[in-house]
């Protein structure tokens, strides 16, 4: 028999779990500016996550999907994607959405059950959160197809979890991205858990990155808890796509340090030992340790930044809590560009019922 094809999947990391350098750093990481900037954004994301969970527990926000453990992935994407690129996110990318300009209060309003959280002009052409699994991968290929048809040097970036790679949509998206050499990047936040199903029984392949091989696109694994490795990998993939060379699948190895959502209880299906071990690898502490070791960050700066972050978050929360309810007729008014005559009567009824004395008046 002849070998007609061979392939390898590479894994990259720069920072060890304990925050020491594993290899020579890229040039940009030999100076403090970018790394300190990343660190500050990661701290903000984490503290915000804690705050949102507190809001949920006190009934001020709805079911919420925590971002805990994905801080490095979102922070790097938010930094390296250009404004004119398009993000096609899933439901765990709110830190990234904010880095792309979505005001915190509006982001919070989404989790507070209000579609206006998807409507901010600051989101430009970015998609709203994909709640069904893996559908976003195809929307990203459609966006990338538009870029390619119009010969624009823009890139579509989509994010999903490890569970999403089991869906046909994901495979069909990789396939068309390869067939048409589309400017799209698929980020798999492999946080090891799809609600209660662990990575080990999600897929029989040794890596999720190797799904790229069957589609004829680049595929690689990267330590998703390591901002430096993430930066290198995403930067290269963006460059590749922007130069018209096609798509990349990046499997970012992370860990879901939270429950799936606030409606979930992960103690039902995973051990405390595993969770404890994952906390030893987490991205924020790791970068902090490295910054300390380089003399680029100290306790005074830490305290000052934590305080500043608290104020930023409080402002965002105040904005969210002060938002007036949306007009009830929004239920009909954004269904079609022009409301069909046949629906006018139902719209009138909705408004009538919401008025004082109506059956749905609050």
């Amino acid at each position: 028999m002849d070998t007609v094809y061979t392939a390898e999947i590479h894994y990259s990391s720069y920072l060890s779990e304990s925050g020491t350098a594993l290899q020579k750093m890229p040039q940009w990481a030999e100076k403090p500016e970018q790394l300190v900037h990343y660190y500050r954004n990661m701290v903000l994301a984490r503290q915000l996550d804690n705050k949102i969970i507190a809001l949920q527990r006190t009934g001020q926000i709805g079911t919420y999907a925590s971002l805990l453990g994905s801080e490095a992935i979102d922070t790097v994407l938010g930094e390296l994607m250009l404004k004119e690129d398009v993000l096609v996110p899933y439901y765990r990318n709110h830190a990234l959405q904010m880095l792309r300009g979505l005001p915190m209060g509006e982001m919070l309003s989404y989790w507070g059950g209000d579609e206006r959280g998807n409507s901010s002009p600051a989101m430009a052409e970015d998609f709203p959160n994909a709640v069904p699994i893996a559908t976003q991968a195809l929307h990203a290929t459609g966006v990338a197809t538009a870029f390619k048809i119009r010969s624009e040097k823009r890139v579509a970036v989509t994010v999903c979890g490890d569970g999403a790679t089991s869906k046909g949509d994901f495979m069909e998206a990789l396939n068309v991205a390869g067939a048409w050499q589309l400017p799209v990047i698929f980020i798999v936040n492999n946080n090891q858990w799809a609600i209660s199903v662990p990575r080990s029984i999600q897929c029989g392949a040794a890596t999720l990155a190797q799904k790229a091989i069957g589609a004829g696109i680049r595929g690689e694994q990267v330590d998703g808890n390591d901002v430096i490795a993430m930066h290198e990998s995403v930067n290269e993939a963006l460059k590749h796509a922007r130069e018209g060379k096609g798509a990349t699948l990046i499997e970012a190895i992370s860990y879901r340090l939270s429950d799936h959502t606030t409606a979930d209880d992960a103690t039902r299906y995973r051990s405390n030992d595993e969770l404890k071990a994952a906390w030893d690898r987490e991205p924020v502490k790791r970068l902090q340790t490295y910054l300390h070791s380089q003399g680029w960050w100290d306790e005074v700066q830490e305290t000052a930044w934590q305080n500043e972050v608290s104020q930023i978050i409080q402002k965002g929360v105040d904005h969210y809590l002060a938002m007036p309810p949306q007009p009830i007729e929004n239920l009909f008014d954004y269904l079609y560009a022009e409301l069909p005559e046949a629906l006018q009567e139902q719209r009138d009824k909705l408004i009538r019922n919401a008025q004082p004395g109506g059956s749905h008046h609050e």
């Binding site: 998609f127 197809t145 538009a146 870029f147 396939n175 269904l335 560009a337 069909p340």
Partner: protein, 327 residues
Amino acid sequence: MSNSITMIEAVNLALQHEMQHDDSVVILGEDVGTNGGVFRATVGLREQFGIKRVLDTPLAETMIAGLSVGMASQGLKPVAEIQFMGFIFPTMEHMIGHAARLRHRTRGRLTCPMVLRVPFGGGIHAPEHHSESTEALFAHIPGLRVVIPSSPARAYGLLLAAIRNPDPVLFMEPKRIYRLNAQPVEDNGKALPLDRCYTLREGSDITLVSWGAMIKETLEAADQLKKRDISCEVIDVVTLNPIDHQTILASVAKTGRCVIIHEAPKSCAVGAEISATIAEQGLLSLQAPVSRVTGYDTVMPYYRMENHYMPNSADIIETVTSTLEFS
């Protein structure tokens, strides 16, 4: 002077017209490029407009729909083809969960001006899974327009309207009449409204309501009934979401009797919606119960038995007669 053309040629003509006048119109689907589509709806378009505007896709219907949503969010107007109605089901997550809700979810920030074209219905001795009429599955979805032409001229004007409409449209083509009844169609770029029924024939004794290929049998029945001095008003519903109930109700107010004819299975079909609306808003004008002449509540049979499944003009005449005799 305009040449007489068939419905499939009218579809092609509308696509060509709109591609010529709007650079954002892009065709995609399985075999739509070099092959010109399995029914030849897109024949010649790749040669005329190039490979960036007529895309032969990989064989994956979910992808065709999902890709179209992404393209449409960028301001393109994708016109995607699904080869047969029996293969449309993988698109449903994208049509229902995304295309129909993108404007609503983003409060108008992103929109989805896409068209999904699909041939449907029986009567051409096709393989299994090629002859279904599942329009009701889609007509139920808020935000998704469903349009069905029944003549070459209406196929031309309605397809132009579907492409120009800023929201997603499912454009269902009754393939049994793709090549029947050629008629002159002027390539004048005139779109037809997407919320109006057509009264194909005026009459005073009974209202016959139908759409798609069954319009042919309905008109044949009306012709034969006319010889017995029974005057049928024939309404082509055309747009199944939204439905122009007012035109139907006005006709029933005049005739007092109504028979609804469709090829799809009877239960929970669009005929039930029309019948319920007449009961809600036109009960007092009725002189007889509203009746339905439909396919059976069975699987659409493979072609040896399809003639037993599909309503014909004799079935319509029989039901019209009993409706007229009701007292």
